[in-house]
């Protein structure tokens, strides 16, 4: 036999490698910014961009959680109603505590909403994993449940935050830290923490493994139930964090709060490059996806071409084009 060194000359791993899957959503984002600028130069004004990015924080934070769920092979349609429900719970408990605690009721409220979010996530997780029900249906069910609960809590009306708390709480949405709006800071912190968990811990590795191939994960001694349940719990916590930022912005929880957020969240995750069938999650892509969605809506307001009736159509077209850009740039 001749020696073996001759084999293996076809090198498939390029030396210099840009991860195009990760870059895709950012390219789409750049394209959108360009189009926006051409449509209306105001679009790129610092003020406008700050506004848009700030308000994309809710969806971004929730979508970061959804990246875990989707990466682990699940799906969560209940996030919008869950956001409304935990917001309601938070405001009710803060208002009740405000009399005794004063503004430190806000701290208590934050603790309570985190607990509520985690519990809601746990419920979703347990139904999906222990009940072994298709995530689509399970979370469609809890979506109805959370929505009904907030309707019940608000008697069909709205739950406004107590006046005495309003001003103390305001900076959480309207304030800024070193010139960066607080919600942006919070979402960056959430995204950093999430990338750490997803890319740097055993749990994150296992999350992707469960989503990529459940059987293989199980045979490798990974508890699929546990991993997926935790993903839903993380989702719940993210919803709670989003709720914390949300309250000062709108000052009330209503039965229509968070309506259809689930669609935006899933869209952000998918535009971000995470496949709906599970596997590797792309946290920063997700964040870019959330910003893209908010930018599209912003562009619709800033441009004057489109009949009000057709806004949804143009939005649909842009989302499809964004996906094409994202896909083709791989």
């Amino acid at each position: 036999m001749t020696d073996m060194t001759a084999i293996g000359s076809i090198q498939h791993e390029p030396q210099f490698k840009i991860n195009w899957v990760d870059a895709g959503p950012f390219i789409a984002l750049a394209a959108l910014l360009l189009v926006g600028f051409l449509v209306n130069p105001e679009f790129l004004s610092a003020n406008n961009i700050a506004n848009v990015v700030t308000r994309s924080a809710f969806i971004a934070i929730i979508a970061v959680g959804a990246t875990f769920v989707i990466s682990s092979g699940g799906l969560d349609l209940s996030v919008g109603s869950m956001a409304a429900f935990v917001t309601g719970v938070m405001i009710l408990s803060m208002n009740a505590l405000a009399a005794n605690l004063g503004t430190s009721a806000i701290i208590a409220g934050i603790g309570i909403v985190m607990l509520a979010g985690v519990l809601c996530g746990l419920v979703n997780g347990v139904i999906v994993t222990v009940g072994k029900i298709e995530p689509f249906i399970a979370t469609l069910g809890t979506m109805g449940i959370f929505r009904a609960l907030i309707t019940y809590l608000s008697d069909g009306g709205s739950i406004p935050i107590d006046r005495s708390l309003r001003d103390a709480y305001r900076p959480v949405y309207f304030g800024s830290l070193l010139g960066v709006p607080v919600p942006i800071v919070i979402s960056i912190v959430v995204a950093v923490a999430a990338s750490f968990i997803l890319y740097k811990t055993k749990y994150g590795r296992r999350c992707a493994a469960v989503g990529a191939n459940e059987d293989v994960a199980r045979y490798s001694g990974i508890s699929v139930t546990k991993v997926r349940t935790i993903a839903y719990v993380i989702q719940g916590a993210c919803v709670a964090i989003a709720a914390i930022c949300y309250v000062p912005r709108l000052g009330a929880a209503t039965p229509t709060t968070g309506l259809l957020w689930e669609l935006q969240v899933i869209t952000a995750v998918v535009i971000g490059g995470t496949a709906l069938r599970g596997g590797k999650g792309h946290i920063w892509g997700t964040v870019a996806g959330a910003v893209i969605l908010e930018l599209i809506a912003n562009l619709m307001v800033l441009s004057d071409f489109v009949s009000e009736y057709l806004v949804a159509a143009v939005q649909g077209v842009i989302i499809i084009i964004a996906m094409l850009i994202q896909r083709l740039s791989r």
Binding site: A6, H12, G204, A209, G279
Partner: protein, 507 residues
Amino acid sequence: MPRPVLEAKGLAKKYGQVSVLSDVTLDIRAGEVHAIIGENGAGKSTLMRLLSGYVEPTSGSLWMDSAEVVFPKPAMAQASGIVLVHQEILLAEALTVAENLFLGRELTRNGIIDDRTMQRITSSKLAEIGCRVSPSALVRDISLADRQLVQIARALLDNYRLVIFDEPTAVLTSDEVETLLAIIVRLKNQGIAILYISHRLDEVQRLADRVTVLRDGKMIGTYPGRTLSQMDMANLMVGRELATLYPKKSIRCISEPMLEVSGATVPGFVSDISFAVHKGEILGFGGMIGAGRTELFEGILGLRPGTAKLRLRGESIHIRKPLDAIEAGIGYLTEDRKGKGLLLGEQLASNLTLSALSRVHPHRLLRKSRDREALVHAVDTYDIRLKSYSLQAGQLSGGNQQKLLLAKVLLTNPSVVIIDEPTRGIDIANKAQIYSFIHKLVETGKACIVISSEMQELIGICDRILVMREGRISGEVTGADMTENKIALLATSNVSMSKEFQGVRHT
């Protein structure tokens, strides 16, 4: 005599009413290679799954260190030091090689995933067994053989007391097999117990200290390895005397070209290959793993991007999509039966007829009875061993899946049959059947291309062998030149080609 690492007493497994394994009693000792042989569907893989916690036995018990053990989960067997390398590849395709290797036992430093170390260990473990893929390559992108090696590396990562190999060599070429066998000997010398399943009886003969024979789910007996010849083993497995393996090469008139391929290029894998296969000819394709044989044919047949000029019976044809090939009468049997060949969750009959729906059902409507007829006929012709016609394809044993796949491809009645690894995982008795079948095919005026990593097989059945290396044809051997040495030389070095090979022979 060393103490047994694991003892099985009266193990039996039933799926519903169907018994696939009964009353198996066996012990595996530290520092021995214990081979399990048997025909396709004899229950070897089932037995291994019972021993390693993937399947729970219907009755019987397992004992380690004189205490009864139960393994409700594979992880528990692994914790007790027992690991199984599956016959079918079980890796997460969307993850990298290193991630797969360390799945479920990731290394961390201060709670943070330590990718650097894992990749380094992966590299060295893979190098040890002669696998050269990058640890950061996605499993999806590596060849089947490499996947198998990754699976093996996974089992060698920790110090297990018993390593079970279920047909580890089925997808490997001879060099890789040698490396693997050397590793197995090393493990054995370290006092590790090895259970080894293979249909390549020469390996069994070289390695095994003891051989246990299964036939139709029952234990025939355990024999000291060296006392058995390959023929003895085959006879024990089958329960009757076996004829020769390879059919006599008949003298056929090979003149008329059937399929001519020129300038075939598959970006990244194959560049500018030309060859022809003739009516009545069996043309072999040899080479090392990664030579690009699979890609060549997938490119030609529209299964992956590639260009080629094709002439079938002298007339030029264009194949843009897989259906064009099937309609033109070119059948291709993929090497990846699990991922690309069969719908594992579907019934046998619907799998069988999937590419030949219009042939099997000439009328507008599907008729169950025609499906059934086709299945009964295929089971009969290809000797597919099954206990019930209503199984799903995934419930067949590996070798029988392969036969089903062969039946599926031949059901389209191709005039050129391209078979990628025709006897992967097929037992010795059935190999002979498949060889004779291929011969019958070409005797009826068809042409056949066989891609195989088993050089003996190529030599045994082919009229002519083309050897590929690094995406090109490095030489051709015919007649008396068809020896393992010649082929291996062409497959691995680039010096020899100038003298013996002057390009493709066109007639």
